[in-house]
Amino acid sequence: MAIARAIRQVGPGLLLAALALVWAFPSLWVLFATFWQAGHFTLVHLSQAWASAPFGGYALNTVEIVGGLFFAQALFGAAVGFVLARYQFPGKGLITALFLLQIVVPLYAVLIQEYRIIQGLHLLNSKLGIMLPYAVSGIGVLTFRQAFRAVPRELEEAARLDGYGTLGVVWHVYLPRAIPAALAFAVVSVTYHWTDFLWPLMVTNTDAARPIAVGLAMLAQASEAGLQWNLLAAATAVVVLPILVLFALYHRRILAAFTASYDW
């Protein structure tokens, strides 16, 4: 009995640990192949990988694209979310449907025409060209709308009595209460755009605009033929280490925000 109970208590943990090992194996291998050579810790692979492609530029591009997109999506999401949560006006149904359309039609379904539009605007090979089709996020709108709806009306009324206009109310009352939702949305937005590949690949032609995922794919193809796996592993480490460290540091807050905001 005692054994059975012990198994029941420890079992899930052990099972999960085993699963975690399977899931983490590629990341662990990257660390091993990058930093370990002939029984020693080494930074040689990492510095070689760093020198083999303009990773600094790629990283900067990625930060600009991912950060810029989150900023734009949050700004637009908050504005539209607020209007949809708190206003009645003619055509609201239609407007709501328009923003839902952004969720309903994935960019990849209309890839070719989207490409033509960016081409027509002469935005090929630019970061803006990568970003524009994603600038407004329907999920962002829904997330903020939901968060704003949860704000008690008394707070808004109190703020108005204090003399705030609508924008002031939004800034002082609504936005602070939407921070967990914004954080949760950031997880969705950042993971998506950080890992996005085919669209940035198609839009970009040179290192000037390529984000890190595309740069890594290019490096992999260039060295794949020579199968320089250690170099490739180190390049992968360059790409994934920062985000892994960030996630390791903040995962509690991120996961908590996520589960709290998407507790449908």
């Binding site: 935005l123 803006l128 032609n205 000037a208 605009a209 193809q221 033929a225």
Partner: protein, 438 residues
């Protein structure tokens, strides 16, 4: 109403940020002079240069090094090298750029892309560049529409690599690879028997048609005529060759069954997992460097007639839609890259054929081939080489033929059915060009 104004002001600021970015992007995107490097002098001409990597080795690094040297030695010109994937991906990228009106100035693309590029009216004739060099004639075939459209650069042949140590161990003559198909099978079985190492690996993904072509040619007929619209996928020769491929795995058991990746086959060879491989001569430098045993290189073993092979690899193209000054700069760049010193350098570091006899006569190259006589095999092969499969709708035609071969290797279809179907599909795809294209 203050709110409305503030709101609009927020959007105006957002839009201004966007337009600001747009203006920044615009600099990098104006005309063909893409890339963000600011012109150091107002007279610097910027060229975008797209190139693929299709063989083993750190070719992108070697290429970037050469371009950097060109930029240093040519003050008025700045070339931006852009690595764009393998040959198919690079062609896709360049054709898309052409369609959007922003072609690169120069690109290395398959010699065989010429029909599609002409169909798009995308490239400039390069007759004077070609005629002023002394390129090997085999590299210039076929001449389309009476012009030369590309300058030979990273050209290769299909060769047979063999592990001399394993040959010696099995009691075979290590100075000579197998010279006939029959002998290939015998040697491979003997090695497997004596050493336990796999006999041979022939890659069968990526550009299957290319590794297959020498076998078809040796069996009597190339896969295509040189007019861009005629293919011979279901010829007797193709059938014989494909049957031989199947037999290597399933009858003689000297090759692993299934589809072998282009990229890992050289790796298997370097690690002594297989005694022989068929691969591009362009992989030679990397294979010699990575292998811990003496590497033998030989002609493809002969089929019915004498030993043959086929050409492969990429040429320089210069595109339409760039300014006359850029065209001139692009010609300077191409002339420099294919000049004896650079051609020899590229050849020594990759294994690609030295494209001119002057490059082969280059003193450094001569010293090099004395140490590494394997590098002479591909140039000697040139006189027996036939052109690579080249048509309109190139990528689709390649895909059709490669699928046919793979479906046979995979055991899904028999040789005859697969090749007949490929012929039908290719004819259907080429039909529009047959009537109007020429």
């Amino acid at each position: 109403m203050k709110g409305v104004k503030s709101m609009l002001r927020v959007w105006a600021a957002a839009a201004a940020t966007g337009v600001g970015l747009l203006a920044l992007a615009g600099c990098g995107n104006a005309g063909v002079a893409s890339g963000s490097q600011p012109s150091s002098a107002s007279h610097t001409i910027t060229l975008t240069y797209d190139y693929p990597v299709g063989v083993s080795g750190p070719l992108a690094q070697i290429m970037n090094g050469m371009v950097a040297r060109f930029n240093q030695t040519h003050p008025g010109i700045h070339v931006n090298p852009v690595f764009s994937g393998n040959y198919v991906q690079t062609l896709a990228k360049v054709e898309t750029a052409i369609q959007s009106g922003t072609p690169p100035a120069v690109a290395v693309l398959n010699h065989t892309a010429v029909f599609d590029l002409l169909h798009l009216n995308a490239v400039q004739p390069l007759d004077s560049l070609v005629q002023s060099g002394d390129f090997y004639p085999a590299l210039l075939q076929p001449k389309v529409g009476g012009h030369y459209w590309s300058v030979p650069f990273q050209r290769s042949t299909v060769v047979l690599y063999y592990n001399k140590a394993l040959f010696a161990k099995a009691g075979l003559n290590p100075d000579q690879g197998p010279s006939t198909w029959q002998q290939l099978v015998q040697d491979a079985s003997l090695i497997q028997e004596k050493t336990g190492v796999t006999g041979i690996e022939i890659p069968s993904d990526g550009t299957v048609y290319w590794e297959f072509q020498p076998f078809a040619i040796e069996a009597g007929q190339n896969l295509a005529a040189n007019d861009g619209v005629t293919v011979h996928f279901n010829s007797q020769a193709a059938e014989t060759a494909l049957q031989f491929w199947v037999d290597l795995s399933h009858k003689y058991h000297v090759e692993p069954p299934g589809i072998l990746p282009w990229n890992t086959v050289p790796d298997d060879f370097e690690r002594g997992k297989t005694a022989m491989i068929v691969h591009s001569s362009g992989s030679l430098a990397s294979i010699v460097q990575n292998a811990s045993f003496p590497v033998g290189v030989s002609f493809m073993p002969q089929g019915v007639g004498q030993a043959r092979t086929n050409m492969g690899g990429g040429d320089f193209y210069i595109f339409r839609g760039i300014s006359p000054a850029q065209t001139q700069a692009a010609e300077t760049f191409v002339r420099w890259m294919t000049a004896p010193a650079q051609a020899a350098y590229w050849s020594m570091h990759t294994g690609y054929v030295p494209v001119t006899s002057q490059a082969l006569q280059d003193p450094q190259m001569q010293r090099f081939v004395q140490q590494h006589p394997q590098f002479l095999v591909a140039p000697e092969q040139l006189q027996y080489a036939e052109p690579e499969l080249s048509t309109y709708q190139l990528n689709q035609i390649y895909e059709i033929f490669d699928s046919a071969v793979q479906s046979v290797l995979d055991g899904q279809t028999d040789v005859k059915t697969a090749l007949n179907r490929a012929q039908q599909q290719a004819e259907a795809a080429l039909a529009p060009y047959r009537t109007t294209g020429q």
